[in-house]
């Protein structure tokens, strides 16, 4: 019998209430990401400019080392570094979180040290899982952009009633979110199968696909519901230039920090915990 999502969320809340340590992997990731964001923000300033200035100048242009243009690239750079951090550090912390959640599920005291040790032993596999997800997402995003540009450069004026500007703007953002949620749904149980089910790498990926196939709606809800909290951040980041001009440039930084808190301490926390608990209820419960 399939576990109800309400039960899973109830278990998630209860586990968090009883064992605050479960927040640790997500808190660490948020802290590291915040540190990186702070460095991006300080890049145009002495003494950071000496090290961080040249790559920004080479890849984006000199103007982005000046106020307030530097705020224009903060969302893009923070997203880029978040992806790198997710592959390098997030993979390890996802494995750690999965082990800690199982400890909590079986009413044991969650141990971060023991869990990170266990995850460390499978770091290569965890790294590969997150890397492959990131690569698929990257190509899917590029595919959307390429498809839209190809369609409109072929001479078409509109698609489904929308012109190029709308397709390259808000529609692309929405499509990217949909792609993110679908790809995430496919891979969401891979870490659980690897860390908790002791499956080999590719078998864990395949098992995740199969598990998703059997629990499509529950899984889609598991990845989508917490993500709703992040939508305001996406909308605000899409309007970065407008906000700089009409509010004040530093608001971009505030949004970026809020984005980190929401993504790490709400979205990732609830998606990882509820997916792992859903897996545990169905496999071990």
């Amino acid at each position: 019998m399939k576990t109800k999502l309400r039960t899973v969320y109830h278990q998630t809340i209860q586990a968090l209430k009883s064992q605050k340590k479960l927040l640790l992997p997500f808190g660490i990731f948020a802290a590291v990401e915040s540190l990186v964001l702070t460095l991006i923000y300080l890049a145009p300033r002495v003494p950071f400019r000496a090290v961080l200035g040249p790559p920004i100048k080479a890849f984006r242009g000199e103007m982005f080392l000046h106020y307030p243009a530097n705020f224009l690239i903060i969302p893009e750079l923070s997203s880029f570094f978040r992806n790198i951090l997710t592959v390098i550090l997030g993979s390890l912390l996802a494995g750690t979180a999965a082990v800690m959640i199982r400890q909590a599920f079986w009413k044991k005291e969650a141990s971060f040290i023991r869990a990170i040790g266990e995850a460390g032993r499978k770091y290569f596999q965890l790294f590969f899982i997150v890397l492959i997800t990131a690569v698929i997402l990257n190509y899917a995003y590029k595919g959307v952009t390429f498809g839209i540009i190809k369609y409109f450069t072929a001479g078409h004026k509109e698609l489904l009633g929308f012109g190029f500007a709308i397709w390259r703007g808000p529609v692309t953002v929405v499509l990217n979110v949909v792609i993110l949620l679908i790809v995430q749904a496919f891979f969401i149980y891979t870490v659980a199968f690897l860390m908790l089910g002791n499956q080999k790498l590719f078998k864990a990926i395949w098992q995740s696909f199969v598990f998703f196939g059997k629990h499509i709606w529950q899984t889609l809800l598991i990845v989508t519901l917490p993500f709703l909290f992040y939508i305001p951040v996406i909308i605000l980041q899409y309007k970065t230039a407008y906000l700089i001009d009409n509010v004040f440039p530093e608001v971009v930084l505030i949004i970026a920090y809020s984005g980190i808190i929401i993504s790490s301490l709400i979205v990732d926390l609830f998606v990882t915990m509820s997916a792992t608990l859903y897996y545990l209820n169905n496999k071990e419960g």
Binding site: Y41, L42, R45, V46, R49, Y67, N70, P249
Partner: protein, 274 residues
């Protein structure tokens, strides 16, 4: 742990808030400039005490960072606010003081003189405005503003619907630019001068001579810079102004042959199809 966090927050606050590096100066400038832009948005409705307040902010900024290039911009903003508020005498005084303070910089002084002329222009005092513009040509002919002025004067006459004076001004501008180009035909100045000559002939609707000036650019500079943009300009003149589609196509073909990887190649191919 708490102490380390406190130190980190303190360091970040210090770096982002207190240190007066170029970035911090740019931030201060952005704030005062924002307030100046609010005046420009609706100068008529802006009360005089608000204008005074913004002018004081800008003056204080310039006084705080006198060596910074943004101080010059702040000074100019003050003058432009006066212009926007139709306080022409105050504007001219401000531009005169800028010219005096930055007398070593041809770019700043020529800009200050130009804006002084603009103040006269806004008062419809054409003679005084032209006198200022001519002063730039004679004193700072090679500054960016100085290079533009001969053509600008002709355009100013055109805007005043004075065709005879406009034609004279364009001819004068052409001989001025030819004089600059002839000093050193291989210099960047000659390249810029010939571009302006082509534009001046365009202003006179003398398209053949405009093309001749552009061809002179190609002849002198094709070995040192890509000439695809110039070729596209020639093709457009043939097509749009002289209605000579054959010559236009020949020029576009020349562009595609000489610069197959040009960023204008696609536009050229599109034009060839028509």
């Amino acid at each position: 742990m708490k102490r380390a966090l406190f130190c980190l927050i303190l360091a970040v606050s210090f770096l982002s808030g207190c240190m007066q590096d170029q970035y911090a100066i740019e931030r201060d400038y952005w704030k005062v400039n924002k307030q100046a832009q609010a005046v420009f948005k609706n100068p008529v409705a802006t009360p005089s005490n608000e204008v005074e307040r913004v002018v004081t902010l800008l003056e204080n900024f310039a006084a705080k960072y006198p060596q910074n290039t943004l101080a010059v911009r702040a000074h100019f903003l003050v003058g432009k606010i006066y212009l926007a508020k139709s306080m022409h005498n105050e504007a001219r005084e401000k531009f005169a003081s800028i010219a005096k303070e930055y007398s070593q910089s041809a770019i700043v002084v020529s800009e200050a003189i130009f804006l002084t002329g603009s103040a006269y222009q806004l008062q419809n005092n054409a003679d005084a405005a032209i006198a200022q513009y001519r002063m730039i040509i004679s004193k700072y002919p090679l500054s960016p503003r100085g290079l533009q002025m001969p053509k600008y004067i002709a355009q100013y006459y055109a805007s005043r619907h004075e065709p005879v004076k406009m034609q004279e001004a364009y001819k004068e501008a052409i001989s001025h630019y030819e004089g600059l180009a002839n000093k050193d035909m291989s210099s960047a100045l000659a390249l810029r001068s010939y571009s302006l000559i082509a534009e001046c002939y365009g202003g006179l609707k003398d398209w053949n001579n405009s093309i001749a000036a552009l061809e002179a650019i190609i002849l002198s500079f094709k070995d040192r810079a890509p000439m695809d943009g110039v070729l596209l300009n020639i093709a457009v003149i043939y097509r749009r102004e002289l209605r000579d589609t054959q010559k236009a196509k020949e020029t576009l073909q020349r562009l595609l042959n000489d610069y197959p990887d040009s960023r204008y190649a696609k536009a050229a191919q599109e034009l060839l199809k028509r």
